[in-house]
Amino acid sequence: MLTLISKLGKITIGIFFLYPYFIYGQISAGGSSTLKFGESKNEFHYSEVLLNMNLSNEFLNTWFQFEYSKPPEIGMSINGLRKFRVDYSNGPVELSVGDIYKIWGRGLILNQFDDQSVNLDNGYRGLSFSLIEDRYTFNLISGISNINRISQDYWQNIDQESRKPNHLSKHSMFGSDLELFRGPVSIGFSFLQSRENHPINNPVNMMADSIDVIHRVNGFRTSIEQGSFSSYIEFSDKNTLLTKSESVQYKSIFKPYNGFSLFGNINYYFTNKFLDGWSLTMEYKNYNTTKLNPSEKDNFVKNYDMNLIFTQPPTVMREHSSVFLARLIPQVNFSDEVGYQISLVGPVKSIGYFTLNYQAASRTNIWGKTFPDSVNALLATEWDGDSSVTLKPYLDKVALPFNELYIEMEGYVNNIRYQLGLGLTKKVPDYHVLYNSGQNNIWDANEDFTDFNNNDTWDSGESFSDKYSIINEKIENKYVSAITLPTLLNYNIGNGWSIDLKYEFQRLKSGTEFFATLSSDEFFEDFDGDGEWDTAEIFDDADGDGIWDAAEETWYDLWQSGLIPDDQLYYYDIDEDGLYSEGEYFTDADGDNQWDAGEILYDQDGDGIWDDAENLDDLNNDGLWSEKGIYLDSTKSNFYVINSKTGLPNSKEFQNNHLISLGVGKSPYWSLSLTIESTSTYEYGPQKKSVTNPLESFMGNIIDLENKWIALELMININSNTRLDLMYGTQRGGIICSNGICRYVEPFDDGFKLALSTVF
């Protein structure tokens, strides 16, 4: 018997105990199921079934969720019970056991949800006890939270499509929350502690290891609602500690950043004669629980402070229904971000409603690089930031600023509903600093020398130890700016028929800005010892005959023939377009400065041409030796078109995107929509040949198919409880964001998707 109990487990036994309760009480039973299936020519396959079952009576409510997937659209494959919970509620008492999701205040300390669109499930399995009275609420929680996440910074099992989590964050947590209500005012106090088992590299033997850390968060919140005015403010303070049992080696390197989070908002409703019906909303965030340099801005694996995943405060960002605008929303960093949002909304006579929304955000610190002299400057450089607090977002690019102005007018003209929007967006998504180091052949003040004449100063001709130093600082930041025009027309014909026309236009500018500084003079190999740079070429004369010969090949040919491994492509394919481009490595056999079959040319100055040149580290590519100082400021677009004559890519500063969706619907039975998305340029990066499907072949008789994605979607309400969604065609990949968390979705190429959802 004991063996049987052990096999069934505590959960099953619990169900047996609960079941008679349902049998003798008035039961309400129901459930829902969702079936999703997708298959495409680019191997984006998924198949998943989710089954939810609910049983409830006056006091008890149970929920079981089963999943059968192989593989799911995103996440780990599960076959069997995924989630369960039993809730007991009687008067002011609420008790829950199982998989629990809680939110306290606006989530600065605790905000748990299961969002399958970005595969974030940050709930816990455990217990929750609540007392809810008119004048107060009290909540006590305890349990274990194992949260799957995808990290590009973690070495384990990164799959190509980034669909499968490769990192597990384990927390054992408990906490309590008290909220008091007094008329228009409410006040809340919260405490949460989590013991986390955090993966780490052992600093001594460099083997994978883990340490136990404790996160403690205390919080306070208050709100007031008085007539036309309402406001809310929440503050939390976080501390991360190392457990006493951890070894000395970890104690010495454990330096967490212990900070705070602050969120507030104000709503005001105008009631005067001129602005009646208008409302003003202001939101502010200042999340300072860690400081992350631009190189590790999203690295939650290495960062202890960033691992409170059940902390999901407000993003203070507008969520757009426009496809193009939604793609530009940046990933919010809930540990290191400052920003605000202002929104003004109101009626304009009988024309419709006007919306003005402005939002801005940045990281909380201005970072700089420190670069001590070193043999390997690249590895020795470190980011340097301070712990000062800023009240407003920075504009400096190292703080990754973002801002967006959105204006919209919406209303009705007879039976036509219209929506006209304008969005102006700017952001810096990435920032990098690169260094070159070398010997400069010049005696510098801190270098050792042999003082032949014993005068304690270095004199010309005296030998010296020429240290390696940083001679080139190259800053590059990605930039994105866009003008977006989303429009929507909906015509209600009558008798249940309606037509939808959606058109979006976006003029997108995206690329990399380079800004480089010489920390010292350029390095040259002074062959004749005259202290000046002279014209002197170096080429790799393979056969020693003094002329260029052998067969020319681009890096692309060498890669195709397997001579360049995939993981070294970045070294050759400088612009990352997957094609040979002017300026990239080639073997110039006949010395005509064109790639046409040839020998190896070391294109040292990167101009794509073989130059008469000595071994000069020509940092600014001007063919001349330069003194230290700022010398380069340039940009490189992400976009290009193919020159029809040469077949080579030509960079384009802007990309024009269009999205047209035409739909027709018959209430309450079905709707059908055709969506065509197009873009005016290619984007640098490996190109994947798209398959032309029958739908595209048909549309190809009407429009040019180059750089277009076409999809046909059908929705059928089989009955009021069952809905079928079908999609056939091609969908463009891109970023999708939900709850401030973004993930890249692979393109869906020539395939179909099916989703069937039923409530019973």
Partner: protein
């Protein structure tokens, strides 16, 4: 093995329960937009109601809400009411009050920022509209919104009020619709 056995037991028990059960709404505790708490069955004291799940980012939800406001105002004399459960996450919570206030909606609004009420009510699509009689039994459930769906919802309200012999005045939706079109529009928050 253990998980498989557990799955089978749960499914069998569920199927047995399903045979004997009615589809009633659970008496869930709701957090209202003003921060106070309420029980779902409290809203059934005066008569039937519609529970509508919506979000500020959901275009069809907003198209439908103006009709729900008309239903709420027209049938309130008969004890009928609409409860709109907002499922925005905390990121949009500040705008929910503004939206409801600017639109001058008169129905009750609850918030469900981590979708727990939504899951317990088996809501899969947005919007989902659930018509409940005074005993808490689910009479009609509708997923999504296409222009014209408001007529089906209105018909279900009539049928329920007729069945329960609650007196009411017929609603001319087209007349109200035209009036609404002149004075209000949806706002994309």
């Amino acid at each position: 093995m253990k998980n498989s056995l557990l799955s089978k037991i749960v499914i069998v028990l569920f199927l047995i329960s399903f045979v004997f059960s009615q589809e009633k709404i659970p008496n869930l505790r709701l957090k209202m937009i003003n921060g106070k708490y309420a029980k779902l069955h409290d809203f059934l004291k005066d008569g039937p109601m519609i529970i509508d799940f919506w979000a500020t980012w959901c275009e069809p939800c907003k198209k439908q809400m103006k009709y729900l406001n008309i239903f709420n105002n027209h049938f309130k004399q008969s004890g009928f009411k609409v409860l709109a459960v907002n499922t925005d996450t905390p990121k949009s919570m500040s705008k929910v009050k503004s939206y409801v206030r600017t639109k001058k909606f008169e129905f009750e609004v609850a918030v469900d920022p981590n979708s727990q009420i939504k899951k317990k009510m088996k809501v899969l699509q947005m919007p989902t509209t659930i018509l409940v009689d005074q005993s808490g039994e689910i009479i009609f459930r509708h997923q999504g919104y296409l222009p014209g769906d408001e007529h089906d919802i209105l018909k279900e309200i009539y049928d329920l009020l007729d069945k329960t012999e609650i007196s009411y005045e017929k609603l001319n939706l087209n007349k109200n619709n035209n009036k609404q079109l002149k004075t209000g529009a949806d706002v994309d928050f």
